[in-house]
Amino acid sequence: MAVTEKTRQLSDERLVELSLDGDEGAFGVLVRRYERRLTAFLSQLVGDIELARELSQEAFVRAWSALERFNPKYRFSTWLFRIAHNLGIDQLRRRRLLTTPLYRTDSEGGEVEVVVPDLDKDPLGHLENRVLASELREVIDGLRPEYRELVLLRHFGGLSYQEIADFTKMPLGTVKNKLFRAHSVLRKALTDFL
């Protein structure tokens, strides 16, 4: 089914209505609109770009299957990211059951998990500056979990502060404050690249 330019410019809500009436082209527009951001968010969550692409596809299929249960009172983006987030978390749990982490001893005698990066699956593998990719990965992984999730939603998922507040069910002020603190950490850690 050919998708017109007019369809491409419709709001998410209208595209959902058309999809409910069986217009797969309209759903295709939603897929194109969110695929990159969803994959970017998932790739940081699961640490594997190929897996993120599969999960992203699965999230869209699940969204399509459950479209009549989507409440238009909320934003489509928030709902879609919630589906993707749940898929990512399930995947992480499953992987944790199937793998054994490697540890090394750090200078103070503590155990540190060894992460062996696979460049083919690296979500930042497309960055030409390998030092920057490695540093960025380290900084994001080193953020407190509550900050990390917000940073991923904001910068990889491209969600607005309000959408993040809806997603996390946090007050908008809390989201602003936490992201401000997270950015202070990011600015300090990435000084050399800014």
């Binding site: 069986g22 994959t39 790739s43 299929v61 009172k73 497309h126 401000f180 600015r187 800014l194």
Partner: protein, 186 residues
């Protein structure tokens, strides 16, 4: 801390929060905030760093997968087929009931219908035909009794209602419209 210093600190925090939210962009600042930025090196530094950070994150987003839309739409096909099958089950059941009913009241010759069916086992079809015939005799007797006690106009009306009802079920299934649970206007 003197009062002026406290005010500057508060302003810095507010302005830096705004700069963080807007990726270092200055367009959301009002006159007083812009003036503050002119005289506050700390806030200017944050504005520049936020711009650079935004750029860095934009670069960190992996490129789009050009075939993803195609792949997702292809993956929807089995879902659509499953939905259509489920939607048509009541139609198939209604048609079956209507057909068996028609055979039973003698509207369609049962042997003619059976003759169209594939011959997987003569005994199987015979058993089926006997079953239909037994039920048919009972229902045909009932129908004949109804025709003697009920007004023919009522019977004709009932027949029309049945036909239109069946037609309605078929059209609904064909349209296969998904109904949002959350919308009142559907």
């Amino acid at each position: 801390m003197i009062r002026g210093e406290a005010r500057v600190a508060t302003n810095c925090q507010t302005i830096q929060e705004m700069l963080t939210e807007n990726g270092g962009g200055l367009e959301h600042l009002d006159g007083a905030e812009s003036r503050h930025l002119e005289v506050c090196p700390g806030c200017r530094e944050v504005a520049a760093a936020e711009k650079a950070l935004g750029l860095l994150f934009r670069k960190a987003i992996p490129p789009a997968d050009p075939v993803v839309e195609e792949r997702v739409l292809a993956a929807l096909r089995p879902v659509r087929i499953r939905r259509r099958i489920v939607a048509f089950l009541p139609v198939a059941a209604s048609l079956m009931v209507a057909l068996v009913g028609a055979v039973m009241v003698g509207g369609v010759p049962g042997s003619g219908i059976l003759g169209l069916l594939p011959e997987f086992s003569t005994q199987g079809w015979m058993a089926f035909a006997t079953g239909v015939s037994d039920w048919g005799s009972a229902v045909a007797t009932g129908a004949r009794a109804a025709s003697t006690t009920l007004d023919p106009a009522v019977l004709a009306g009932a027949g029309l209602v049945s036909i239109f009802g069946l037609l309605g079920v078929v059209l609904t299934a064909l349209r296969w419209r998904r109904v949002s649970l959350w919308r009142d206007d559907r």
